[in-house]
């Protein structure tokens, strides 16, 4: 009796130890405990170090006056503004270069990707040369070259006149811009309405196609309406059309809009580099569509352009979109290399703030948080698009 009682307890302990459930809980407690302990140890050390160096903690510095200037931005900013506003300028600059870069890289990438599959031998070879040449060299090096080229351009006095009021000089690219006028408002409203109308038209066209089988050229009609209707409104309301053309005054240009050398170099570098990867994605996407699809479409009497648009591309997109998403995210993250050529993006502004306040932890954490949020938003958007183009299965 007593022997049984003695052995019963170890047996149940052993059963407990060998139970997969208990082990699972135990391992998780151990790992979480380890991570928490490591985190606590690091935080403890950091706080001790910060206290020893007399550095403040917390996000209080965001409200203080920054005291440094930022070369360019999309919102008004001066050295008397707060760190928070300085960081906002940086975030907007990052977004600006990322959005324009994504658009440009997609256009170049699509063109080069299709060109690599061209039946024209010369075009295909040139596209291959571009892809293999660009993607095997680090982006940072390419950025240095682009920046070197832009700053080695002639001074504004000897600027290269591209024509139509576009000037290239070592102060960047100068473009003419229309002067904003109060009477432009109606035209802007019409433009917005035409944009919404495009989607309504598409819905109607698809619906009619499904019902009756008659296609309607919704894209060309809609785009034409988007261009023509606002122009018509401008003529009807009699708004003056005035262009601000860059003009040489003294040592620099006045008027027009300008792209700074840093921005131009970063945009060129990011787009050209990412486009080489996008081209490969587009190529593999198109190759993934069986050739029989093209043959079937051609034998139905569809033109080559329609075959590409209605049969090949929709199927290729399924293969293209997921890796394309990660290339877009790469471009966003790579825009942080701006810091190396002096474009005031988020990382470079945060860096200045860190150097001034010494609050490295907060600065780095804020930067990472912003990138995470933007990456997440971008990938949500792309995943939504992906779910629209993905193959619908049972």
């Amino acid at each position: 009796m007593s022997g049984m009682g003695k052995s019963a307890k170890p047996a149940s302990v052993r059963a407990l130890l060998y139970s997969a459930r208990f082990r699972g809980v135990l391992y998780q407690v151990l790992v979480v405990g380890g991570v928490v302990a490591l985190g606590w140890y690091l935080v403890h050390n950091t706080l001790a170090n910060l206290a020893a160096r007399g550095i403040a903690t917390g996000l209080g510095f965001l409200g203080q006056e920054s005291g440094f200037d930022i070369g360019e931005g999309m919102i008004p900013y001066s050295a008397a503004d707060t760190y928070a506003r300085a960081l906002l300028v940086g975030v907007l600059n990052t977004l600006k270069v990322a959005v324009l870069g994504i658009i440009l890289a997609s256009l170049i990438g699509l063109t080069v990707g299709v060109a690599r599959l061209s039946r024209n031998w010369l075009i295909a070879r040139l596209a291959t040369l571009y892809v293999e040449g660009v993607r095997n060299v680090p982006l940072l090096l390419q950025l240095f070259v682009w920046y070197g080229i832009v700053t080695a351009l002639p001074v504004p006095r000897q600027a290269i006149d591209v024509g139509l009021g576009v000037f290239l000089s070592n102060r960047g690219l100068k473009l003419p811009a229309p002067v904003w006028h109060e009477s432009y408002w109606p035209a802007m409203v019409v433009l917005a309405l035409a944009f919404v109308g495009l989607f309504v038209l598409r819905r109607w066209a698809v619906d009619r196609m499904n019902r009756t089988g008659h296609p309607f050229p919704w894209l060309s009609t809609g785009l034409a309406a988007m261009v023509l209707l606002p122009l018509l409104t401008l003529t009807v309301t009699g708004a003056p059309v005035e262009w601000s053309v860059p003009e040489l005054r003294g040592f620099n240009f006045q008027g027009g809009v300008d792209l700074s050398p840093e921005f131009a170099a970063l945009l060129a570098g990011l787009s050209v580099y990412t486009a080489s990867f996008i081209a490969e994605i587009v190529r593999s996407g198109i190759l993934a569509v069986p050739h029989g699809q093209t043959e079937a479409a051609l034998s139905l009497g569809l033109s080559r352009a329609k075959t590409l648009r209605l049969v090949v591309l929709p199927q290729a997109l399924r293969v293209i979109v997921p890796p394309l998403t990660s290339q877009y995210l790469n471009l966003l993250k790579n825009s942080s290399l701006a810091v190396a050529i002096g474009y005031p993006d988020l990382v470079s502004v945060a860096n200045t703030a860190i150097n001034q306040t010494g609050q490295a932890v907060e600065g780095v954490a804020l930067t990472m948080a912003v990138y995470l949020v933007v990456s997440l938003a971008l990938s949500l958007l792309m995943n939504w698009y992906n779910s629209k183009v993905a193959l619908v299965t049972r």
Partner: protein
């Protein structure tokens, strides 16, 4: 002229004879290139326009480039100054002769340059030896261990008659190669743990691993390197400091591990579930199941993605320039900081780009070859 019908008759008639259809007259050799050009370059109006545009582009760019890079280029200067380059209209490749040491080895003590040179050669030789599959044996691992010890001894010195060189003076190609290689090698075990953790049934472990991977993949390497360079010193207890190079290496490792973990996870997902179930049925515990059954199959699939990750790691090490280390790119930049040679920055960057390109291109070709080699077992 032969009509198509005649052609077919001729072919059927000739079918019994050894010679294939004699009616198909091969075009004279002189016209072959023309025929090829017609079918590949000028077969339709849009194609012809494209070809002409491309030819125009080439005509505009290639002859000036050849003139600049080869015909009018200055290959060497006698007096060590850029004087001869200033007089010529071409490229100044003399830069290579004057600054190659600085570009390749950074600020490593000049009279000791044979050491990083030898170290680089050993590493490249080891990489080349590791490429063919027939050398993938246990001995290769020992050879790598020995090579790493020798390379570390060459770079650091301090024992066996070599003078000590601190890591702050390391630079150039050896630094780039070393950071990329060590980054991948150190990240590999971590990535396996992370990938297994992400596929684990235990929710807390899965959450921690997923969180880490997604967090790191969501932020740029620059910010990870900044974190490594400014925050790591704060993390450590007072009085303990770590080397700048080591900090960058830790940053690169932590960053690479997250990306590698996703590659490993891809490999794990490709292994049929039945393999794990069979291992469970045999009563293998988790780690033995992974070590003996799942990982050997999964990692084999993951080798090409690992090579690709190595290529991007190799390119990404150029970012350590931003936190003040002298890798190949930073050393090239430093060489161009000399006012005498600054106007020839394009040549300098081209030289650095060619070095990067040769490494990356050959590795990507290798990765494609490897993919074909390893795919045999799965091809139907």
């Amino acid at each position: 002229m032969i009509k198509p019908e005649d052609d077919i008759h001729a072919a059927t008639a000739a079918a019994d004879v050894e010679e294939p259809s004699s009616a198909v007259v091969p075009a004279p050799a002189l016209w072959k290139p023309l025929g090829w050009a017609k079918s590949n370059l000028f077969d339709s109006v849009p194609n012809t326009i494209l070809t002409l545009l491309a030819l125009f582009l080439l005509w505009e760019t290639v002859p000036p480039l050849i003139g600049w890079g080869l015909l009018h280029a200055t290959w060497s200067v006698a007096d060590g100054t850029a004087g001869a380059c200033r007089d010529s209209a071409g490229a100044c490749w003399a830069l290579m002769g004057e600054k190659n040491r600085l570009m390749l080895f950074g600020v490593y003590p000049y009279d000791q340059h044979w050491r990083p040179l030898l170290a680089t050669c050993i590493v490249i030789a080891m990489l080349a030896t590791s490429a063919p599959r027939r050398f993938w044996r246990r001995e290769l691992g020992y050879a790598w261990l020995a090579a790493i010890v020798v390379v570390a001894w060459l770079m650091w010195g301090g024992v066996l008659g070599l003078s000590y060189v601190e890591t702050g003076l390391w630079g150039g190609l050896p630094l780039t190669l070393g950071l990329a290689l060590l980054g991948i090698v150190l990240a590999f075990p971590l990535s396996i743990v992370l990938a297994l953790g992400r596929r684990s049934n235990l929710p807390a472990i899965k959450a921690i691993c997923t969180g880490y991977i997604e967090l790191v993949r969501g932020v740029p390497l620059v910010s990870v390197l900044f974190m490594a360079s400014v925050m790591f010193p704060l993390f450590l207890p007072e009085g303990v400091s770590i080397d700048k190079l080591l900090r960058a290496l830790v940053g690169i490792t932590l960053f690479t591990a997250a990306y590698l973990a996703e590659a490993v996870r891809g490999g794990l997902q490709a292994i049929p579930r039945g393999q794990e179930e069979a291992a469970d049925a045999l009563g293998l515990p988790y780690w033995r199941k992974m070590r003996l059954i799942v990982l050997p199959q999964a990692l084999r699939l993951v080798i090409p993605p690992i090579v690709n990750q190595f290529i991007s790691c190799f390119k990404d090490t150029s970012l350590v320039t931003i936190v003040g280390l002298y890798d190949l790119l930073a050393a090239s930049k430093a060489a161009l900081a000399d006012p005498e040679w600054r106007p020839y920055f394009v040549e300098g960057y081209i030289i650095a780009a060619v070095i990067y390109w040769v490494f990356c291109f050959s590795m990507s070709r290798y990765s494609q070859w490897l993919e074909r080699q390893l795919a045999t077992g799965h091809r139907r």
